[in-house]
Symmetry: C2
Subunit: 719 residues, 2 copies
């Protein structure tokens, strides 16, 4: 990979202001370590419940290096998480690392850091020299090869660009990272004979605090996302037990964070307390995206979606906050997309992609789920499209190659993938959904993943690999059409078992084929009528797959229909009192049925990332903003009212934001970077003082946008 790791990819910022410094590590290692810690915090009724897949660990011994030139003598402070060995221009440094004197001129510094318990990390700051992403790092060591004693580090050692986040002070040690907390108080307390139930007014997450503790005995806490769950001592998913004694302070904050809206508090013995409050725990993020419309219900749905997204955007993008609190690649993939229209927080995407990938050798699929390996590739692809971050692609590409090798080696004699021992073919939670044989949906995701590989191979300048993956993707797509596309039924069939394609149709392959743009116009219309709008095809009951189903319909111009679905489905959850969106919602279920899942009365998560898709749909298909080149270098705005009187909002871009207002008579857009094209339909000839509108076809108009200008268009909305 040497070709990737040259100084060509040093960020400009790092070169200009080297006295800025940040903690650095082997890329992915801190993310893996932090995710191990976070995912091991799951408990089930008090019992430890770690993830069900392989854990990786950071390299315990790594070497950082930097070639640099000083205009004058510098006195550099070197701080490490771990023990460190410093070599300056190949010579061992025996002095005080807090004051390393380096004379003017060209130098080469290497710092070897060992840490078995935490991620080896380095912080260097002088007047001219500072640790940043321009430093290189390796877990190998062949520097001794150079018998002159100079640490050339060039003998076969693979160097990677260092990883970093936002630990910009030496005191901010990566291993000590904690999410932010702020106090929250119950909105209502109901006293019972056993104790009391505190209602915090909405779904929340954090550390319960006990106030006015006294006496001795036990305090029991039973958490509930619903009041029913908090009241169920026997069946609530999470609980805590605190032993109260004479030597205990009056105030006590629980060690472990929990997700809940309600907490039932019971005491035993002479233990008593006055009240409970909590420390709400969150990742500090700015809501850079926004959406408002003439429909208050949709506004409420957007707000609750955004809050659901924020609750599940933590150290990493997790599935839900009550139960697993794990990083599931398929769930995270939707979080990436929603993030681009809400926070546009690249570090959260990178942390999650690094953590999911782990290290080599690859012995099983991500989360052991075949489709989840593929979503990971799609996530890298989209991240590059939205962020334009080539440095990350260069860091992650080796991991992409080894994961893809693993996948391709598991293809059967038809070059297709089907579940092997140890593979979980998930697709969706749906009754009677068969995972048998060659499932067309999995092949479709593999084809898209191969396209992602080809793109990234190009970025790392491996044209041979780029061609190879392109060919693989092309031939697989042909195979998919040959094996699964039914011209009569205008749909992809579900799967092929022992060489025989069954006549079963499911929505999954068909809706993905639409927004992957694998179908021609006629085929798309066919799929729309025969599958998406056909009630005889098994309905989707998870917000997870609703996400894609509605996206497919939007891509086909069905925004008005989709709004009805959103009002109905997400509005349905709000009617049932949801303050965050759920893991699963089936309108036909009654009462407590809505709370059960996995055979447990309160097994269902009531705050699940994949429930927040309106954040993504409103931004991409109503405000209509989409990048058309990496990092929003170019983009399109195509506002669609979908039957609303007006919509208004912001979509974040890497360095700014795009503002869109659209009513039946007026469009207003403004951006801060990139070159955009506004496309819209109008019954009348539109008027705009700020730019020249061109007509592309009957009733369809375009306007070239440049950053910094506010464009006001008078027109007459047409569907």
């Amino acid at each position: 990979m040497a070709v990737l790791l040259g100084s060509g990819s040093i960020p400009a910022a790092a070169q200009e202001r080297s006295t800025d410094a940040t903690w650095i590590w082997y890329p992915g290692d801190y993310e893996i370590w932090l995710s191990n810690k976070m995912q091991a915090r799951r408990t089930e009724r008090g019992a430890f419940f770690p993830p069900l897949w392989r854990y990786y660990s950071p390299y315990a011994l790594v070497t950082f290096q930097k070639h640099f030139t000083l205009p004058e003598e510098d006195v550099v402070e070197i701080v490490a998480e771990g023990q460190c060995k410093i070599q300056l221009d190949g010579a061992m440094y025996y002095g005080d690392p807090s004051r390393v004197h380096i004379p003017a001129g060209a130098h080469h510094i290497t710092v070897k850091v060992y840490n078995q318990e935490k991620t080896p990390a380095l912080f260097v700051r002088g007047k001219h020299l500072g640790s940043d992403a321009s430093w290189e790092v390796t877990y190998e060591d062949k520097e001794w090869i150079d018998e002159t004693g100079r640490a050339s580090g060039q003998s076969g050692t693979e160097w990677q660009q260092a990883g970093s986040w936002n630990f910009d002070k030496k005191e901010n040690k990566p291993s000590e990272f904690r999410l932010s907390v702020t106090p929250q108080y119950a909105t209502n307390v109901t006293h019972e004979n056993h104790g009391f139930i505190a209602d915090f007014g909405k779904e929340t997450f954090g550390y319960v605090r006990l106030h006015g503790l006294r006496g001795s005995g036990k305090v029991y806490l039973y958490y509930g996302e619903s009041e029913e769950e908090a009241r169920s001592v026997e069946a609530c998913e999470t609980l805590d037990e605190i032993t109260v004694g004479p030597d205990m302070k009056k105030e006590y904050t629980l060690k472990d964070s929990k997700a809940f809206r309600y907490v039932q508090v019971r005491t035993e013995g002479t233990a008593q307390l006055d009240s409970v409050s909590m420390l709400y725990e969150y990742l500090p993020l700015e809501y850079r995206g926004s959406f408002r419309s003439s429909d208050e219900l949709l506004n409420k749905i957007w707000d609750v979606s955004a809050y659901t997204m924020h609750l599940t955007t933590r150290e990493f993008f997790i599935d839900g906050i009550k139960r697993d609190r794990w990083i599931w690649s398929g769930d995270a993939y939707q979080s990436y997309l929603m993030n681009y229209y809400l926070f546009f927080d690249n570090p959260s995407v990178k942390r999650t992609l690094f953590a999911l990938r782990g290290k080599d050798p690859v012995k099983s699929h991500i989360n052991t789920i075949m489709d989840y390996s593929f979503y990971w590739f799609l996530g890298v692809y989209d991240y590059y499209l939205y962020s334009g971050d080539e440095d990350f692609i260069k860091q992650i590409y080796p991991g992409m190659v080894s994961l893809m090798d693993f996948c391709l080696q598991r293809r059967n004699e038809n070059n297709m993938m089907q579940g092997l021992p140890g593979d979980w073919v998930f697709i969706d939670w749906a009754d009677g959904l068969s995972k048998e044989g060659e499932v067309s949906f999995e092949q479709l995701l593999l084809a898209r993943s191969l396209e992602a590989m080809s793109l990234c191979a190009g970025i790392v300048e491996d044209s041979e690999a780029a061609d190879y993956y392109k060919k693989q993707a092309g031939s697989l797509k042909e195979q998919i059409f040959d094996a699964f596309w039914s011209a009569d039924r205008q749909a992809f069939l579900h799967h092929r078992v022992k060489g025989k394609t069954t006549d079963k149709i499911t929505r999954y392959t068909n809706m993905f084929a639409i927004f992957f743009d694998y179908l021609d116009a006629a085929q798309k219309q066919g799929v729309k009528q025969e599958v998406l709008l056909n009630d005889e095809v098994q309905q989707i009951t998870t917000p997870y797959m609703r996400f894609y189903e509605l996206e497919a319909l939007c891509a086909l111009g069905e925004q008005e229909y989709v709004l009805e679905e959103i009002r109905d489905y997400w509005g349905g959850m709000l009617d049932l009192g949801a303050t965050s969106f759920w893991e699963k919602y089936d309108p036909s279920e009654k009462g407590d049925e809505q709370l059960a899942m996995y055979g447990r009365p309160f097994g269902k998560s009531l705050c699940h990332a994949w429930g927040a898709s309106p954040v993504y749909l409103f931004g991409k298909y109503y405000l209509g903003v989409q990048p058309t080149a990496p990092g929003y270098a170019t983009y399109t705005i195509n506002p669609v009212l979908g039957g609303l009187k007006w919509i208004e909002g912001k979509v974040p871009t890497p360095g700014g934001e795009i503002e869109v207002y659209c009513s039946t008579g007026k469009i207003r857009v403004r951006s801060t970077e990139g070159n955009g094209i506004l496309t819209f339909k109008s019954k009348t000839r539109p008027v705009c003082k700020e730019g020249k509108i061109t007509r592309t076809e009957k009733d369809t108009y375009q306007l070239q946008l440049s950053p910094g200008t506010t464009y006001n268009i008078q027109y007459k909305y047409q569907k």
Copy 2:
């Protein structure tokens, strides 16, 4: 590897007495963790100096399982190093792990343990159920595949037999392991104006203790394996600085262990102390092998060799105790061999082999040295021959395969190995020794390694692989003879550069070919005359290669000549005051020259494992004991006096020992296990009451030995 990991390989002991219990872990993981810790203890004049090669880490999350049947209800205590999740017959256990009630009958228990900082380890003990090597462990997890909730753990998960050592009490946590210590005192103290120099009488290792500390200021310690080194404040390799203050106790024990015979103590400020002593640190081992002879010098050489071996046999077999204190595969390989004739401590061999191998993927040679990868294979081969331990072969085989794959992938177009970027071709420390091109020595080691692979593939019942490696070894041996054997010169040539074999001859390939038995009788004699006994071929100056040179000569029956060499070379070190044997000895060097190495005045190690080879040579080629089947099922005894009046000693076997006495007129042998054959020459017809002696050829006799009998033979010694 599933085929290997069945209950077929459960040690009998574990089956019979299941209430015995020991701490278990993923095989190799604890060894890797412990070696990381130990090897990071090196300091150079106070500066941290970790190893120059890749570090691996344990799996942070592993799952243990055991299928078992209880005759009655058992109450089991489960203790883990880390957080643990217990499942009994697939059901989550929420209760107290210190009292797990399990009813009579057949069961399946899985315990998942997470530990990021230390090796995840498990201890289980009940009346009938105890954790031991019969438990299985995996770092994968596909148990959820089983949708009934039962933890079948059979879906594609690779299980390994658990690793263990001797942590047989729940209190003996593996992570808290420390070597033993015992006080030692200086034999002589010389007071100087700056302080004093304490002489501990011989090379030793441990923690210096300061007595009668008072005042405030500094105490400086300068360590020396020689008095010259301890006196050299500027150039001694290791030192310590202790800050003394009012709040300090009178007694202080240094935190870090050091190797030394002399310590110079200096004080600064008002700091004073009365004296120093030390805590000698060692691995408790029984000297099961012994050797005595009619030559007191040789007896002394054996004693100092044994002590050198003990000092370097620690958490692992290390190179030397002063400087690196690292695990070098080439050095360790000799320690394995010496161990079989001194301690016969299998755990030390297994720990070292596991630690050296690390994990996958393999990205560089062991210690980054090509020859050291090959010695590792030879070490596994010999371990099996001496111990007969098939369970270990099954645990290590996957690591053998991946390391061999790495090696074979690095062969050039001639199917030979030559140094690639990042490879260190070491061979030996010798002036002007070329490592260029295809070095015959490396090919020879590879051939032997392929033979080891074939043997072990057979043990794990992979006959296809066994054949493959056998063929590879065979064809490589042919190539070696074609390319490097010179019939005219009766020797292997050193190397081939750019297709051209140079006419240079070195000893290395030639002497290894002899004890690998790759040469016919005539070729052996040729090599003996033209190389081994030819002073024009560059002499060897390291005990490291002297080890093999003398072994080759012994294998050719030159015991008498070899004894002269030993008296001369090892005796030479004793004459210079050695109390342990050195890293390098060149009789031509004068005075302080003997202490210098690596361009540093005291860089040379004066206690180096590879200096102890007489322990091995005396046992194998004078007492003449060698196994001929794994684990001494069969063995030979062929006593050789080599000019001595008498020799006497013991050679340890897996379950006992072989005693040998041999003088010019009498042989006495006794063993406790296995079937041995005594072979000897006699000028007269020998007499033995305890067994029937048969004559095999002129003057050569054989006696079949059975365990437990002492055989007394009257004869007349003949060379």
